[in-house]
Subunit: 475 residues, 3 copies
């Protein structure tokens, strides 16, 4: 099976083999751009940008035009029927009956997944809130590959807002898939979210090592916070409990991937406060460091203040070439997803989508994702979307929302199995109790609070009311 | 004469014969969509959506692209020169000199008529305020025909906001033209406007019967308010002064046409207040009624709360197929209006546009349409648009605005005939007096008030000032 | 060299010879519009309208479609990454790597110049604040030429807002280039800016004569304020110190170019106050004047109140034909700039871009343009744009900003030459002193104030502190 008729929502949807094949086709598109004018003739791409964008929308539309296809565009959410309260599912079904492929950007995390579930045609995620932005990542990987030849074994520094940067989130998983090492260099307070670190370790292997505070003092301007070392990497540090920053930096950074603060997604006032003073800047002075001698400097753009204009003319600065490559990579992707070009046979051998299989948690009533930006908790969507999770860990019990992929750790659990027939068995337990661990995934019921469990008719089993926490620990 | 070079502003512009021919061409477009890519090559459609839209705009643009044509788009009124105070006439003249056809949506009622009057090229009304939306109606009729084979004699329930729903207004006249019966099921306070009922009876024949309050109690969830019975329909109820709701419903409903509340057009606070509790909902429970056993459920979309998601999977729910048909029907319409496809000979026999001929009332000074949403009373338009009415009734004297089609009943009249030469004959009368009825249409002058008549130099004829009402009645 | 790969930012970029060739190609485009569908196939035009527009954007997009090319559009600045703080240079570089040509409108004066400097592809200025709008001027000139045969020697009245009207500013230079005379008829307070009058006299020759106040009383409705007489014009008035308005008007006006008040650019409250009463109106009554017997009435549109609807049907009113000509003129321009059509050999003989060569003033520190609407002083742009000026006059010393072309007269100067080696020579002078005039252009340093000069380490040379003004005059 090739990419035809498939959607691209997260980096999970592409194997490294498929990406390699996509990059080869991108080379071809870039070399013969003027000859691609008949590839998608008669096809229609719906370009639904329900959050501001220039670059991504224009590069998708350019790509479709270079392939000879047509485009229908929504460039502003305020002028759509979504403003009248329409759900994403309804919009997806209707636009899916007009166009041949949908490209969607939306402020809600998981929105592209919902559109793909209902559209009936291929859907490309062009950025869903702070979640993912896979085509930017394809463009980034392609650029690294063009500049460095190979991605495996490279040392890539991810810089700036690693918390809300969706391009960062997509890139982390893609680099892990290709076996690159990563240096996390966040602005203080904007570190990589825990759910991403957990997924990285659990599904891609390798290790994430925190940099010791003492080491951090070594280089003031280089805000290294943690290092991810891939499992296959023959790396001396992978064995060490503490990273030696000096040693680490001596080897040099292959690429510096800079991002702007995603202020529009900040939740707390403290994230905003003093940001400008705190946010690490990449400029001429920083690049004088010997660890950056051969570094390529990348940025998904737009930049604000974190990337100084004084390095634009530096040969290491390749962010404008990076942006330009957005067109051929999207041409290749559109041609493949529309079935206008054949997927090379080599890429389809083996499993197309790798990944761990987790048990699914899906109940009509009960927990909702606790990410306020998740598509599943929005008023217009909650009326038809059932919350759905993957049980990604039993200890601690962790559910991952299938839409936004945020992790969620419920406090109480019960089982559908135990109370069958006998009402006295309808009891609930603390999620970290040994009782909880005995529940089979298919029977699991989770509760946000003891009150909720009791409202559903469950009793605190064995433990006297307010005391059960201590009792349980005592077992 | 075919449709080529004609505009489509209201359902009056198409005969049922022409619609049948259009539907045949739509069948052809739908079956061979991939082969239509050269039909409109080199043609340009201006897509002017000066009020928010997704569905209608994108389906028109998709249709034009599937025909191989090009599109220029305005998707937001705020970014146009209309925001600088430009009139619709000026915009129409300019865009008319660029494009080959204009599709226009506008919040003012009658706006599409003004654009058509000045553009010099074919214009399609894609919704003008609460007035009409004829291409949605074509899509609706085509869907009924596909699902039921024929429209004549069907029993269609119109549900929800029958007051401000422009798709409802267009559909009522179209269904009457095809000889369908209609059940009006409004949310309380959102009944079909009087001017539409009057036009329906006067021009299409048939009868509108109110449902007795006692009958209404029979079925709580089915807010039947009135029934329209077509003249040709061999219908026992057409003879009865009161509708028997039970008997009426026993025969079953062929289609249930649901609409959302058009909140953006509500004028009074009372229309908004308590709306959610009052507005009738179509859901699984309602559809269990035996009168809906074979009903197709339709909706122009977007929906809000009036159509529950729990019936989406029901085979009677066809609203997404209905939306999908918007593309081939608009392809057929564009191809015909642009002259890119020939109109079948059969459709052009007989009168293309039926309708009653009414005397025209048009004077430089005097009455303005009293509909605040009418295009003719807007500041930017009033400077060049002369109010124009059709005299649709003499008893009571009723003028219908040619733009928004709202009815207007002036209180006082005079004649241009009587006062020629002799100033003492320059007198005015009450519009319901027998003097008024003697005035020839071409000589008629109407006044909003006695003050206005006197300001124009007319005197209350015969009747002493404040007493004239009584005197007149006494004649 | 032809127009291919060149940009069109101001009227300076085109010689009259090139314009004549462009007009010939426009004739051809207009006559065979349906045959141009393959001229730009596969080419992409980026249509970046970062300020509201209908007419200009739609006519450019129509032109590109008629040539068979494709279009990517930004119709609203709020939905772009500029709203995230991105600079014009970054946007230009990125879009320049997607498209083949850029058409840009922007509220900042000089914005199109910046885009052209960074895009790497041809750029067309579709209006930059109150600065210029060259394609509107091409459309205007083409219209005059079609209606009058030739432009040379005509007498054109420019009417309304001559201060903020960018179409006026471009037209003034173009008419001077073609040797037309101009009558300036501003609304009081909205006269042609001084920097434009100065450039007109210095670079195009000819004379601007003010109309005496006594003469102005002659005709109330005709607000003639000044007359520009071209150098080659055998004009009796050119010799006279005062214009004789009666004599002037006896010869008649060939074209009346009306403009609306550009309220969105007004800076002071007094410009807005009482505007409606003050602003001169062109209507039926005015056109009864014998000086308008053969006048063509033009307007770039949109109009507001300055052009009455009662003259729309008058054969002298040609503003709608003028608008329609926007399409073929832009087709010709796009085809030439994209290299899709060859530039006729005749046009390329001689210098393509005429103009005076001025010394350049460009220093890292020091003066900034004092026009608050200039692109170079905006926060997002000032971080990479160095202020740059042309020294257009030594007496009084006048710098012209290369971006917005506003004039700037610094108060103090110094030289880089004098202080070499010896600190006591690091002195500054008043700009109007004879010392100042001895400074070679390449050594010139200017200061906004004495304080600024002293902050840079300069001392007031020879003159005791507060007294130096008098001393200097005494020399």
């Amino acid at each position: 099976m090739g990419l035809s008729d498939r959607s691209l929502i997260t980096m999970d949807d592409l194997s490294s083999r498929e990406m390699e094949a996509l990059f080869s086709m991108t080379d071809e598109m870039a070399d013969t751009m003027g000859d691609q004018y008949n590839v998608c003739q008669g096809k229609i791409m719906a370009s639904l940008f329900l959050e501001p964008s220039t670059r991504t929308r224009l590069s998708f539309e350019t790509a479709m035009h270079r392939l000879g296809g047509n485009v229908i565009t929504v460039a502003d959410a305020k002028v759509t029927s979504l403003a009248k309260g329409e759900s994403l599912a309804d919009m997806a079904r209707v636009v899916g009956s007009y166009a041949d492929i949908i490209v969607v950007r939306h402020p809600w995390e998981g929105a592209a997944r919902v559109v793909a579930d209902y559209a009936g045609i291929p859907v490309i995620n062009a950025g869903d809130g702070g979640h993912q932005h896979p085509t930017q990542t394809l463009c980034d990987l392609y650029t690294i590959r063009k500049e460095r030849g190979d991605i495996r074994g490279l040392r890539i520094a991810l810089w700036g807002d690693l918390k809300y940067g969706r391009t960062i989130h997509s890139l982390i998983f893609a680099l892990a898939k290709f076996g690159a090492d990563m240096l996390f260099c966040p602005s203080p307070g904007l570190e990589v979210p825990e759910n991403i670190v957990r997924k990285l370790i659990a599904e891609y292997g390798g290790q994430v090592e925190r940099v010791a505070a003492s080491d951090r003092a070594v280089k003031d301007a280089f805000p290294l916070d943690a290092v991810y070392v891939t499992p296959s990497s023959p790396h001396q540090l992978a064995m060490m409990p503490n990273i030696n920053l000096e040693a680490e930096l001596r080897e040099g950074v292959d690429a510096l991937y800079v991002t702007r603060p995603q202020k529009e997604r900040f939740i707390t006032g403290t994230e905003q406060e003093g940001l400008k003073e705190r946010y690490p800047v990449v400029d001429k002075k920083l690049l004088r460091g010997r660890e950056f001698r051969k570094t390529i400097v990348m940025h998904p753009l737009p930049r604000v203040d974190e990337l100084a204009y004084d390095i634009d003319a530096d040969p290491r600065s390749i962010y404008f070439q990076q942006a330009a490559r957005g067109v051929p990579i999207r041409m290749a992707l559109l041609a493949l997803l529309l079935g206008a070009r054949e997927w090379p046979a080599s890429s389809t051998a083996g499993p197309t989508i790798p990944g761990v299989e987790y048990p699914v948690y899906r109940r009509d009533s009960g927990v909702r994702c606790d990410n306020p930006a998740c598509v599943s908790v929005q008023e217009s969507e909650a009326q038809y979307l059932k919350p759905e999770f993957k049980v990604v860990s039993r200890d601690p019990l962790t559910l991952r929302c299938v839409y936004c992929e945020h992790g969620y750790q419920p406090e109480y659990v019960a089982t559908t199995d135990w109370h069958e027939g006998k009402l006295e068995y309808k009891i609930y337990h603390r999620a970290d109790s040994h009782w909880a661990k005995r529940i089979k995934p298919e029977n699991l019921i989770v509760f946000t609070s003891a009150e909720e469990a009791e409202a559903h008719g469950y009793k605190a089993g064995r433990y006297p009311g307010t005391q059960h926490r201590e009792n349980d620990t005592g077992e």
